[in-house]
Amino acid sequence: MSLARPARTRKATAAPKPAKKTARNRQGPRTAPPADRSAAQHRANLLESLLRIRRFEERCVELYSAAKIRGFVHLYIGEEAVAVGINQALTSEDAVVSTYREHGHALARGIAAEAVMAEMYGKATGCSGGRGGSMHLFDASRRFYGGSAIVAGGLPLAAGLALADRMRGQNRVTCCFFGDGAFAEGEFHETANLAALWNLPLLLACENNLYAMGTALTREHAQTDLAMRAASYGMPAWAVDGMDVEAVEQASRRAVEGIRTGTGPHFLELRTYRFRAHSMYDPDRYRGKAEIEQWKDRDPVNRLMERMRENGEPVDEELARIEQKITEEIDHAVEAAEKAPEEPVENLLRHVTSASTGPVS
């Protein structure tokens, strides 16, 4: 795999700025793959990102039971390697479009746990001002175009973001996350066709967790080889072990490099599994405990730690450091969310039109 920045094939009006290495996006995407000497450090960073999502969501479960968080909450536990791996290949200039199962996408993108937690609490300090909740996290400054809770609803939007970049000659990539269920919607197929037809810089990241709510992949798709079907639209497409964060990273870099060199949309089928129910409302009656346990054997966190161990890297020390750091981070996020102000009811009609938005505080 080439480490050099790929040559541009299109005329650019504005060169992409390198990602700023500020404290704000310290967990955010990086621009180049790690050099060998820092591979151990890189793996430690990956571990931290995986665990941040895992622990954040575990805390969300507690807070949901305590009725601090309400509405629909869809957990990403088990699927963390997908968001973390893909974000390694994206820069802060790129765009991300997500779903309702998006805490992992948001945190991996570098949105602070504090802003996400405040949103889950419905507080004014949340990343969507308390209007969105778990399913609608947004951060325009990170080009995180947020959670769409209509299955497949984000796909056409992502094509449009990519289209704008293409028309303006911006060498940026738009990554759209969606599920195996979304693959059945017309919007997926229409987007795939349009993106391929217009050669759009779009990464289609299909999180195949084998279920669309209670409907298993084999009962929702006549042909379950999703990558093969995506390829039929005339785009490079391949399946990836979505439980292996390094495999996801590698595949994503390859795809994103392809997109940046102007070869149009790429499709990744990330084969993964959600360890928890579809949402807090789901009694999870449609799959066996044994199946879940089997997939837990492939837990992306353990998998990465095993690899670190094999390489003689100081896993236990790293783990202790990371766990402590993340616990503090999440404790702080919860504390801040508890204390944060609610949006005053007088502001109910704010943000309906731009005229009612006013200066965004």
Partner: protein
């Protein structure tokens, strides 16, 4: 047996709806149920739980996430002599099937010069109130009530949940049934109907003489609670449950306003262009000279429904808003 000699049983709105579907499947082999997660999962609100085991996968069909296509396929199957019950998880996702409902189901009979009736029933959940935010909180039944060629129902009681489906299936034309998400856990006694349940008439859920509270679906419990509060203050409110949003029972609306001379229309949809607006227009058309006060409306604030609890509560019609509107009309 109840004290009055009729059979009663304790049930919920959800179970009543399930029993109605079960009865339809048993009594007519042309009937089948299809939709996302209606089988193995038991329906996203648990309505069809157990039906897959009882009737098998031919008649309880889990569909892929493809609203436009499985609704369209339901329309096609209806054309070919079946009696499909199509479940769309919620009204929010029905927008993906709106084209099929409007451009096929509602128009085929007319466009074909009367050759192609479409006897389909499409059920879906509607409404807000559970902090599900903007994309999962729509109340679009009023939009559907705009469309000629279809019948739009809003069962708000356990009786209607239990007994509206059979006549809906017997209707040769498309029927849309809107089930408000807050009603599924409603529990109470279910009496057998003393007469066939019709799909044409509004119901007086509480008689009164001072003001008409006209509503439907998920707002009915709020209107009844408001009527209780008003009664404690000496105002006797009549609560009208529209039941059918299309066709509207003009006569029942006019009769109530003629009795009370005042009206509040309660509708969880946005105010502008709402079903509430239509009801107000009909009162103005038919009952203008009966009115002793301007008609009041209690609708949702014109904002995508926000997640935060206080904001959501402020956005939706609440009992206190209905009481306040009634006072404005009466005082």
């Amino acid at each position: 047996m109840g004290a009055d000699g009729t059979e009663k049983s304790k049930t919920t709105y959800r179970e009543a709806m399930r029993e109605a579907i079960r009865e339809a499947l048993r009594s007519d082999d042309r009937v089948f149920l299809m939709g996302e997660d209606v089988g193995r999962y038991g329906g996203c609100f648990g309505v069809s739980l157990g039906l897959l085991e009882e009737f098998g996968p031919e008649r309880i069909r889990d569909t892929p996430l493809s609203e436009s296509t499985f609704v369209g396929a339901g329309i096609g199957a209806a054309l070919a002599g079946m009696r499909p019950i199509v479940e769309i998880m919620t009204v929010n996702f029905s927008l993906l099937a709106l084209d099929q409902i409007l451009n096929n189901a509602a128009t085929l009979l007319h466009m074909s010069g009367g050759q192609l009736p479409v006897p389909i029933v499409i059920r879906m959940t509607t409404g807000a109130g559970r902090q599900l935010a903007a994309q999962h909180s729509h109340s679009l039944e009023g939009w559907y009530a705009h469309i000629p060629g279809i019948r739009v129902l809003a069962p708000a009681t356990i009786e209607d949940a239990r007994h509206m489906l059979a006549p809906a299936l017997a209707d040769p034309d498309p029927v849309l049934i809107f089930e408000h998400g807050s009603l599924y856990n409603l529990s109470g006694e279910l009496r057998p109907p003393t007469r066939p349940v019709d799909l044409d008439h509004a119901a007086i859920r509480r008689p009164g003489t001072d003001i008409s509270l006209i509503t439907y679906g998920g707002s009915l419990p709020k209107a009844l609670a408001a009527a209780d509060e008003l009664a404690a203050e000496g105002v006797e409110a009549e609560v009208i449950d529209l039941r059918a949003l299309r066709p509207l029972d003009d006569a029942a609306i006019a009769a109530s306003v003629t009795r009370t001379h005042r009206a509040v229309v309660i509708d969880e949809a946005w105010r502008t262009g709402s079903l509430a607006a239509e009801v107000c227009a009909r009162i103005a058309e038919r009952s203008f000279y009966e009115l002793d006060a301007p008609v009041e409306r209690v609708c949702s604030a014109e904002v995508p429904i926000p997640y935060a609890r206080r904001l959501e509560e402020a956005a939706l019609p609440q009992t206190a808003d209905i009481v306040a509107a009634a006072h404005r009309a009466v005082d």
